[in-house]
Symmetry: none
Subunit: 123 residues, 4 copies
DNA sequence: GTGGTCTAGACCACA
DNA sequence: GTGGTCTAGACCACG
């Protein structure tokens, strides 16, 4: 099963789905060209509303991680024009850098940690 | 002025305040022991409600970035026992590592970026 | 009716709500997995503001007595990893032990009293 | 030094002073007939406002733990007519019994804990 | 429907 | 002066 949803999390469910798809792609568990389950299927499996899954898929589409083909449904794809992190992502990363510093990590430790997390995603 | 709030942002205002305080501490613009503005003062300056600021301060307190002295109000402090990133922070960082990868950054580039953001906070 | 609030009490209303929920759980009047009334419902029934109830619920959540399921609202739960009394609770108990002694109770009487109060909560 | 005040505690300072006097009496560190420091002295030593100490002393007086003699100042005394715990104390103890139960303590464990805390105060 | 957030006031306890 | 609490509304995100 691809998804582990936490209904008690403050993170919206559609966001959790989106996040887990992105991670799966980054880690190579989901390959470009591969099909995602149909909305109804996934919704039933995960015990959530169709609308919730639909929202997640639309978000993924708008971010370029997904294309919907009329015949084959939702298909994974890596962003066509990778252009570095966008502003929102930079803000989040900067925030984490600050928190890491206050949490006692040195710059080297923080870099190493980031690298190892990137590596993990090598799958 | 310490705070720049974006009232259009989906990020709650109390969270924006919290974030900016944390960043300010990390960047050395706010020193441990320094006093934060009184709730009412900040609320008026920023044009938001007292309770919004109050909520931000309580969040900061619960995270250990702030203590409220019964005599002198809100005082900045670095977490007494820095213990690395917590689980939530790790999840956020891991997510960013994945997104960075899909955005076309190499591991080295990502590490360098993280390092530079950490460095920025050296203030 | 689950709640009896005393608006004259110096104890904040949100704290009273929190206390009564905890007691109800301890006494078995509220079972793990059971739903608590919706914030608005409870607020209206009790004649208090939504935010007051909301604050009580958030406090209960932070203490692990409550989880809010994104689909079905507030659900009671016993702390997953019961780990004895925390420091604050120990301080309060120690204070009471001292007061009991000064109130003329012998050690045996105090123990018996504590036991009987625990027993009451067997519900 | 008799007092250790925590200015960052949510417990009011006057209440902390009152609590520590009561504990000291219960533990025998303060004996009936003994004099407490003058308000001004204590206030200066502890770095708090005269009013704060005064409030604590008045509270202690109203509870019967203290009498003020025009010549000798504030004098410790055990309550003249020990009459068991009052209603407020019972409520607090009952609350703790419930919390102890939810924290995983058995009735026997709770009783033993209460007993040991009482014993500690034997000093 | 749910909880989360916010406003524009207010009162109180504390120091 | 400070923070803590509360009210009576409101809007939004989520499912």
């Amino acid at each position: 099963m691809l998804f582990e949803l936490d209904f008690q999390s403050p993170v919206p469910i559609y966001k959790q789905i989106r996040d887990q798809v992105v991670l799966a792609v980054a880690e190579g568990r989901l390959l470009p060209g591969e099909r995602l389950p149909a909305i109804r299927t996934l919704a039933e499996d995960a015990g959530v509303n169709n609308m919730t899954v639909s929202k997640a898929y639309q978000l993924l589409k708008s971010e370029g991680y997904l294309v919907t083909d009329r015949r084959s449904g939702a298909v994974v794809c890596r962003p066509s024009a990778p252009a570095g992190l966008d502003e929102d992502q930079m803000v989040r990363l900067r925030m984490l850098a600050g928190e890491a510093k206050l949490a006692g990590l040195s710059r080297a430790e923080f870099e190493a940690l980031c690298g190892s997390l990137y590596h993990e995603t090598e799958g």
